[in-house]
Symmetry: C2
Subunit: 310 residues, 2 copies
């Protein structure tokens, strides 16, 4: 070993840049290679009642810990379909993801489709990650609002800033109201539907484009073994907490867990759920189905075999 | 929706077969594409003192929860290097993995290298997953044995079965001794070094080869829309618990977490650890280093930027 470390952060970052290029290339390719299979899967599972609700009953803990008992009832009774898309492909960033929930008629909200998009964005301080915009839900009445008004306020706060009616640091009436509810309710047991209210860092399209160019230049410098100016110090300058009004601070982690785990492994989770139900002798079919499945090879028994997660 | 589900498990399994083919293809390709980069990384990080120990301090919870305080001391003081290999490539299964730990001289054991291999295996009952063989550690003395004799017994039990001196269901002296220690110690706080004792399901090379052929035939049948005989019932027939003598039952999950998370994200974990140390003003350099790093761009300060995990 050397007397002192001859390695700089730039060298490590240069290497990470190269790994990132391969990751992105793999994501693009995976998306292209699996597109037809996911379409085929959708066609198959749309013929299985309760496929997606059963998948959610087996969701990994990173998702499951945010699903409250009432959310679970809503999902079991009315989740019709889930779909995931890397919506900026083929040209854009494969890390930008959309998650679309489709619902049957239910007592809680009017929406048949609720879609949440996350954009991969670069910030001028060097940060890169997923940002989003709040999505509203049309609750059938105030007492059916699982988010107790928080989702609505998150949307209003986002709108008033977007329309230039308030600055990010302004303490508006809506923000005061939101903080009041958040303090009353606590964030421990908030509804999974608060997920749709996530905003994340506020990075404009212009900032993203400028930062992407700077990042490309910095990469080039690192590749040439040159030092890159560190912008980190600029970051905290404005000194206010961008996450103060987030009603679901972990949303981007949950989104990644849905996209990288729940979505690709949905058939395995469904099969796990079926096995559990078979063990407890509960039929997974809807109550409103008169005919039960008769043939042994249909989806009412044990699956033919199981595999360890690869 | 249909009156009754027209979908069979065979159809879902057929689809999963196709997804699996793509996953394997992607794993092979990823391995080929990243090989040079990992070699470059190894060359770089071998020049950074305490790189791997610092990575382990930031290990994700699936790994960290098994690292006891004493294990942590051993890793911090003597882990020199970690490497991961998909050792059956290019011909074999990319899911077979080896994890090699290299150690500096230390007070606990003689070994400079401890390597744990996991083979992806098919069983005749349709199960597929990772199996392993116990690896021994030469403790410097009985009171330096972090596994309190369990690792040694796990190796002996494996050997006596392999050499035909005992059948899997036999209650040998070594098994009695092991159960005694396991009951005394409990499995909650066992050393991370018990990881090396994992065996998993006992699947012979012959069984794997035969099962692989059967699985390929079953795939073909499913692809043709034909039903596949379910062998599941045969599975529990012998009625003894193959995991009764496992001293680290979660080893294959930990191995997968190392291979899919700790290993590819090592630079990020190292950087996280550096930031934490920078915040608490502790230098990560070894005490035996006389010269400290002087240049600003060397590894003693804040990294130039951070990225969200993709």
């Amino acid at each position: 070993m050397s007397e002192e470390s001859p390695i700089s952060y730039s060298q490590l970052r240069d290497l990470e840049d190269d790994f990132e290029d391969i990751d992105l290339q793999m994501l693009r390719q995976q998306d292209a290679l699996t597109k037809d299979l996911y379409a085929k899967r959708e066609a198959l599972v749309s013929q299985i009642d309760n496929f997606w609700p059963l998948v959610f009953t087996q969701a990994p803990s990173e998702i499951d810990e945010y699903i409250q008992p009432t959310d679970s009832t809503v999902l079991v009774n009315s989740l019709k379909s889930l779909s995931v898309e890397r919506f900026e492909l083929p040209e854009g960033d494969p890390r930008s993801i959309s998650i679309k929930f489709e619902f049957n008629e239910n007592e809680f909200f009017e929406d048949k489709t609720i879609e949440k998009k996350f954009w991969w964005r670069n910030a001028k301080d060097g940060w890169a990650g997923l940002v989003s915009e709040p999505v509203n839900i049309k609750w059938k009445s105030a007492d059916k609002d699982l988010t107790t008004g928080m989702l609505d306020l998150a949307n209003k706060i986002f709108a008033e800033e977007k329309e230039g009616k308030a600055a990010p640091a302004d303490e508006t009436e809506n923000k005061k109201k939101l903080i009041e509810i958040m303090e009353k309710e606590g964030l421990g047991g908030v509804s999974f539907f608060c997920f749709f209210g996530y905003t994340g860092r506020n990075i404009s399209e212009e900032e993203h484009k400028a930062a992407t160019i700077v990042e490309a230049q910095n990469r080039k410098l690192r590749k040439e073994g040159k030092e890159v100016k560190d912008d980190e110090e600029d970051e905290e300058e404005d000194g206010f907490d961008e996450f103060e009004y987030e009603i679901f601070p972990m949303a981007s982690d949950v989104a990644v867990a849905i996209v990288e785990d729940l979505w690709p492994s949905a058939i395995r989770y469904f099969t796990d759920a079926q096995e559990l139900e078979a063990m407890s002798d509960i039929d997974f079919e809807d109550d409103d189905e008169d005919e039960d499945m008769e043939d042994d090879d249909e989806l009412d028994g044990q699956p033919s075999s199981k595999k360890q997660k690869a």
